[in-house]
């Protein structure tokens, strides 16, 4: 099995291929997910903002961090399989309990050259 060199960044795309490269092997589906809850301060502020409208910055930041973590986990899982790219990535979001939501990122792990 080829070892992934340290510093090799994983290529992640939303389309069926990696432009300019050939797919040599594929390893199946990989997924990364994280469940996150907001803390009570964010919620109080958001509750107030609810009356005035506009972007709920606290929540936006929270979900952005969650999404990044989900993608990172997906890349990690792909790396364990020896892949260096993940294609056809999709996201899923859903609420778990009030105030906690799950972000899922999944795609196909492939080796490109």
């Amino acid at each position: 099995m080829d070892q992934k060199k340290k510093g090799d960044k994983m290529i992640v795309t939303n389309i069926d291929a990696v432009p300019g490269k050939n797919i040599v092997e594929h390893y199946g589906i990989v997924q990364g997910s994280t469940v996150r809850a907001k803390h009570v301060g964010v919620d109080c502020i958001a509750g107030c903002q609810n009356t005035f409208g506009g972007e709920l910055k606290g929540y936006s930041t929270l979900l952005e961090e969650s999404r990044k973590e989900a993608i990172t986990r997906m890349e990690q899982q792909a790396g364990h399989l020896g892949a260096n790219a993940v294609i056809n990535v999709r996201f899923g979001t859903s609420t778990i309990t009030q105030g906690a939501s799950e972000i899922l990122a999944y795609g196909t792990a492939v080796k490109v050259e």
Partner: protein, 151 residues
């Protein structure tokens, strides 16, 4: 007195929940090894569609629910924020189980691969009770199972 009953419930939920989780994980790992020969991929173009002999929509679904202990930890975490670790395990189990059931469905027609796999998840109990209770979810994984012409 109420406190004692509550603690018994929570303790029982924790122990039984842990046991169920461990045994489920063992089953999942066993089945995954068995199903390793049918990959599931999310893309369509990995396979040349001319080579496909047979195609069928396959899916696997799971309905899963948390236990009382998970609910308590989740509500405490709701106060402090951060990763809700009990539910991570729960959803991971459910998703892997859904994929396995989809693969079983595919192997019944002797498929070689499942393409264009997607996930969907929905919450089955209502949020009306101001917290959501223990949470009941359905996760489905669906894709097209294809049988390829052997070269």
């Amino acid at each position: 007195m109420d406190l004692i009953i509550f603690l018994v419930f929570v303790g029982g939920a924790y122990l039984i929940g842990q046991h169920i989780e461990k045994s489920h994980y063992k089953e999942i790992e066993k089945k995954e090894s068995a199903c390793l020969h049918i990959p599931s991929v999310t893309s369509k173009k990995i396979v040349n569609l001319d080579e496909v002999l047979d195609a069928k929509l396959v899916f696997g679904n799971v309905v899963i629910s948390g236990d009382y202990f998970k609910m308590i930890v989740a509500s405490l975490l709701n106060f402090f924020g951060g990763r809700v670790t009990p539910y991570e395990k729960l959803l991971d189990r459910a998703r892997r189980e859904a994929i396995l059931r989809m693969k079983q469905d595919a192997s019944s027609m002797d498929a070689d691969m499942i393409i264009n796999t997607r996930f969907e998840m929905s919450k089955l109990d209502s949020m009306a009770r101001g917290g959501g209770g223990t949470g009941m979810f359905e996760i489905i994984a669906y894709g097209t199972a294809v049988k390829l012409a052997k070269k």
